[in-house]
């Protein structure tokens, strides 16, 4: 309390005279201005009220937020230009005129302070150089808050999620088994290959039109390894037109490995994977041609697809092929679901790939995401139950609990 009174005294002794002098000077300069509306000479705008300075909550102690009520003159077409802000450092009494804030605005952020020092602000309404009497703010000491604690809930939940991803990856790297449920799509893939074997017709594999930097393409190639294994074992023809050269290289490696694994490296042939063109529609036209000529028994579309999904699925259907699709492209999923025999929807594609590859990072992140989904499911069930019960019973403790749940998943901006 003591600290608080002394600066007030200081203010009255030193600063008020300064303010008077300053107002005089500005009044003098105002007279030098060339164009002054007739009424402005006599019109001194009404002062503001309720000037409040608050410490900005996440900074290194250099920022203060200032708010005030608008002057009664501050209306549309009102006779006011703005608000002149003056900062007073309490220990030295140093005054800085900051700037004139345009009318209609009642907020200022001062970020040129030193933490631990005490400051106060004066605000004057200005109209063509005429200024109202100053209104003073409370005295404020900006303090340091390194971290934005309003986001603590966000941090905690993000921490749980990221922690579990890292934990499960590490877990899988140690060679421990992570359970992933059976994915129906994989059985569908096996069945589809089986049909091609029976019919003695080739398999077509399209890995999407994105490059290897897309996770979907990588997942598609992982699934290719499964397909290639069966292809190599039963000596089925596989045809894989691609639209990126990098994908071509990777796909060739994958198929070659499968043939080596099956003990028949000489049966492998680079022509199984062919680069067509990077251009979207050019690629589709070429794949269409291949389909109509080769009449594959089974078509796989696993990767990132765009507008071409439709055209591929239609042609595949017209030649009577079994079609298995998988993509995480939300706009294309409806078309694949409607036109293909089986579709791996979104994350299922990644899950199938993780399941097959047994790669720690894929498995681990899938598990980590499951933790996130688990949290979401629990939160929804419990949250909805509590909120409903609180609404029905009117119990205040339940209402508090429901309030807490809500705040846990809300961001205060």
């Amino acid at each position: 309390m003591k600290d608080y009174h002394r600066p007030q005294l200081l203010f009255q002794i030193f600063i008020l005279p300064l303010v008077v002098i300053l107002s005089l000077t500005s009044a003098l300069t105002a007279q030098e201005q060339p164009v002054i509306p007739a009424d402005s000479i006599i019109h001194i705008p009404a002062p503001t009220s309720n000037v409040v300075a608050v410490d900005y909550v996440y900074d290194r102690g250099e920022t203060v937020e200032l708010t005030w009520n608008l002057s009664p003159d501050d209306t549309i077409g009102g006779r006011i230009d703005g608000y002149e802000l003056t900062r007073i450092e309490q220990s030295t009494g140093k005054m800085d005129t900051l700037e004139v804030i345009p009318a209609g605005i009642s907020y200022y952020k001062d970020d040129k302070l030193t933490h631990g020092h005490k400051y106060a602000y004066l605000i004057r309404s200005v109209y063509f150089g005429a200024k109202s009497s100053p209104v003073s703010s409370n005295i404020i000491t900006p303090s340091i808050e390194i971290i934005n604690w309003r986001l603590a809930n966000l941090f905690a939940i993000a921490f749980i999620l990221c922690g579990s991803v890292i934990y499960f990856i590490a877990h899988a790297k140690k060679g421990k088994k992570l359970f992933i449920r059976k994915i129906a799509g994989l059985e569908a893939i096996d069945e589809a290959i089986g049909r091609a074997t029976e019919m003695g017709r080739p398999i077509l594999f399209v890995p999407g039109i994105n490059d290897m930097d897309d996770v979907q393409t990588i997942a598609g190639i992982t699934l290719l390894s499964r397909v290639a294994k069966v292809v190599a074992d039963y000596d089925i023809r596989i045809n894989m037109p691609v639209s990126r050269s990098l994908v071509m290289t990777t796909a060739r490696e994958t198929i070659k490995e499968a043939y080596i694994g099956a003990g028949r490296p000489d049966a492998y042939n680079d022509d199984m994977v062919r680069y067509i063109t990077d251009e979207q529609f050019g690629y589709v036209a070429a794949v269409d041609g291949i389909m109509v000529r080769d009449k594959p028994a089974t078509c796989f579309y696993l990767g990132a697809f765009f507008a071409e999904s439709l055209i591929l699925a239609e042609t595949g259907n017209s030649i009577g092929a079994i079609q298995i699709a998988g993509t995480a492209q939300p706009a294309q999923l409806p078309f694949f679901v409607a036109a293909c025999d089986y579709t791996l929807i979104g994350e299922e594609l990644f899950a199938a790939s993780a399941y097959l590859s047994n790669e720690p990072k894929q498995l681990g992140s899938l598990k980590g995401q499951d933790v996130g989904k688990f949290v979401a499911m629990i939160a929804i069930v419990i949250g909805v139950l509590i909120a409903t019960l609180a609404e029905l019973t009117g119990s205040s403790s339940l209402e508090n609990l429901s309030e807490f749940m809500n705040r846990l998943f809300t961001i205060v901006s």
Partner: protein, 211 residues
């Protein structure tokens, strides 16, 4: 109407018909239009990125007459490294540095953006009392909460889909299917609208058959 506008409209009409001719079959007109499309689109983005990104964000800052900044030069050097890809494998590995920068920045920004708006806030929005309002409102509230829950169950891979859990997953896939149906309908609407825009151009601006 000035001559270049008239010429432009005829040219645009020719291009439009040329592309549409692909519906009949792949042909020379389509090939020509496609090549022009590929070339002009590359040129368009080349120019746009030059003026909006390189000129505004690099040149104007690095060569500011009052206070030239040094920071943009880092970006410029990273960018130049990107072009090493054009010159063979020996130095192409340098292009991984700017690539790493782009990927790191995207990962960092989107991680928080998506986590907050699309995960946290959506979970928060689902936490609402369901037994409020009319009977219809209650049904709707229950369906939103249950649908979100069951949809999440379907994408949960750590438990076999059996029993009650399997049932929930099955309901979840129904919700997903209706969602896809809605997307399907809207996509059809969107595609038709694009074509309508072209037809409006052909019959309105060009042939003037409609007002």
């Amino acid at each position: 109407m000035s001559w270049e506008q008239t010429f432009g409209i005829w040219l645009a009409a020719a291009f439009t018909l040329g592309i549409v001719s692909f519906l009949y079959r792949d042909n020379i007109f389509y090939k020509v239009c496609e090549a022009i499309f590929v070339g002009s689109s590359a040129g368009y983005w080349f120019v746009t990125y030059f003026w909006d990104n390189l000129y505004r964000k690099f040149y104007l800052q690095a060569f500011d007459p009052v206070s030239p900044h040094i920071a943009p030069w880092v970006g410029f050097i990273l960018g130049v490294l990107m072009l090493t890809r054009l010159f063979g494998a020996k130095i192409a590995w340098l292009s991984r540095w700017p690539l790493a920068f782009i990927i790191g920045a995207t990962a960092g920004v989107y991680m928080m953006f998506y986590f907050v708006s699309n995960a946290m806030l959506q979970i928060g929005a689902s936490i609402k009392p369901v037994f409020v309002g009319s009977f219809g409102d209650i049904v709707s509230n229950v369906l939103i909460a249950a649908g979100t829950f069951c949809g999440l169950v379907y994408f949960f891979f750590s438990k076999e889909h059996k029993g009650v859990f399997g049932g929930a997953a099955r309901v979840g896939i129904w919700f997903l299917m209706v969602t896809f149906g809605a997307s399907f309908g809207y996509t059809v609407m969107s595609r038709m609208s694009l074509m309508l825009g072209r037809l409006d151009f052909l019959f309105g601006d060009w042939l003037r058959l409609i007002s």
